[in-house]
């Protein structure tokens, strides 16, 4: 399905009381591509993520996912549609093991409820089977298979970030939103991360990442969108945006790590 749009926004706007965090943003993201959203702090990147993920309602404008309008759809329903996001501050479930974290990612792909679980009905057993199989699959994808039984928070930050991605992947998304996946990682971990993201793309999943780390972005992204103080100021290939004077202006004073 490459070539068609996976996600579109039309004059998307979000205002918190007085301040306008996002101002009439028009985007259209190609399916099966790695898109990066960059911009200085407070540009509205995370707000954009939260709107797509449905954390809070849009003030005006529309979001379309595979042509379907997304505005009114509650956050927890979007995962089932194939949109999933990770968090800047990893947000792992500390009260679970590594494996259980990923298993909880299978939630939208399984359906048994209180009754089935209370009495261990056949349906529950069947689904648990496939849940754990898939979970292990995705755990291996990010190379954490050997840590399945550890407490999630006992992992170093690098692996925690990978685990978060595995947990998101477990929902079988069409579109995965990565919020600063590279933050706090060392060079080696960043290389692993890039490989993983490419892998995910190879699986035909569209990737959107918000990232401060320019080398990482430029190495990965096939399409880059630049936000500044709630406005889209540029988009294009990595090479194009890097030359864009607006972008350079926006980043002046911003030390680019």
């Amino acid at each position: 399905m490459s070539g068609s749009e996976i996600l579109e926004t039309k004059s998307l706007t979000k205002a918190f009381g007085g301040l306008v965090a996002l101002d009439k943003i028009d985007l259209s993201l190609q399916a099966g591509k790695i898109t990066a959203i960059i911009g200085p702090n407070g540009a509205g990147k995370t707000t954009l993520f939260n709107l797509i993920a449905g954390v809070y309602p849009v003030s005006s404008g529309q979001i379309y996912f595979q042509g379907k309008i997304l505005n009114k759809i509650p956050a927890h329903k979007r995962a089932a549609m194939g949109i999933v996001r990770t968090f800047q501050h990893v947000h792992l479930f500390g009260n679970m093991t590594v494996l259980e974290n990923v298993m909880s990612g299978r939630h939208p792909r399984s359906s048994y409820g209180f009754l089935e679980s209370a009495f261990r009905l056949p349906k529950a057993r069947r689904e648990e089977e496939s849940i754990s199989l898939n979970a292990i699959k995705y755990l291996n994808l990010v190379g954490l298979g050997t840590h399945a039984e550890h407490d999630a928070l006992s992992l170093p930050l690098g692996q925690q970030k990978l685990l978060a991605i595995a947990r998101a992947m477990a929902t079988d998304p069409r579109l995965i939103l990565l919020d600063e996946p590279g933050a706090g990682l060392n060079t080696l971990e960043k290389r692993q991360l890039s490989d993983l993201i490419r892998n995910i793309r190879e699986m035909g999943i569209s990737v959107v990442l918000v990232e401060h780390d320019m080398p990482l972005v430029m190495g990965l992204a096939e399409w880059v969108i630049v936000l500044d103080s709630g406005q889209k100021i540029a988009e294009g290939t990595a090479a194009q945006v890097q030359k864009n004077p607006k972008v350079i202006a926006a980043y002046l004073g911003e030390e680019v790590e």
Partner: protein
Amino acid sequence: MLTKVKSKWNYLVIAALLVLLLLIPFEWFLGQYTHLAIFIGIYTIVTVGLCLLMGYTGQVSLGQAAFFGMGAYVSAILSKTYGVNPWLAMFIAAVMTGAFAYFIGYPIFRLKGNYLAMATLGLGLIMWILFRQLVQYTGGPDGMVGIPYLSIGGFVFDTSFKRYFLIWFFCLVILLISQNIVRSRTGRALRAIHGSEAAAESLGINVDQFKVKILALSAVYASLAGSLYVHHLRFVSPQSFDFLASVKLVVMAVIGGLASVWGAIFGSGTTHVLSEVLRKAGEWDIIIYGLILMLIMIFMPGGLFVKLKEIFERLRLRYRQRGVEP
């Protein structure tokens, strides 16, 4: 750890505990404490619900006694005043309480943290006031006496001995059900909510709905316990469901171990055995009770069950090393 690799050891311990449980009410064993054991069973049922709600889902309830009381009063009123069959009354009570919890759950869970604590506390107080003031139905502050016994066919549960087995049957079934729930997709969803609501939501977990559902479930547990309570004592009075009762329930849940279903037994057990042992101490009992409560939390903040598990594990490993695994 223990919950996973189920070694022979665990089975041995569980079997031993079950046998112990089975023997308690016999005269030649601990017969004279049957009544105490029954109370432990009843309060365990409420406490399990609280563990699911607080320990797993991370939602505070300072008003659980309200549901406990609803179950008790609905059962009492239906079976005594209107002559409804006690079992039916018990069922109606559970449904009513569950539904009530479900519907108040939606507004209440719009509140978070200490506002939630406040709201549940308020709910508890309001129910308590109603129990006291609706005299024509509830008998007011003095409560109701002469509530009928439960019975199956001709078999009447008219002695503590009989009721002991009935109540602990309920208790164990509920413990097992809860155990299954926490080890399932549902349980993971609940723990996810506790871990991070944002992340849970992003993984397609309907946070609000799970919250009200678990509140309703805990309410149903409390209601069942309440019904058993009145059909055991054949008496009900508002005082058993006041603010302090709600606090007592939280205490049980925490000292047992919030994040462990089986901890509920230890929580309920410890509190009741303590006050039984201390009763002989006259006016001094509450001083010592307070001290012990503090000490338990200071030395085993995770709760008794967690501590016991640690000790048990250590022993097992030691024996393993000695190579005497049976």
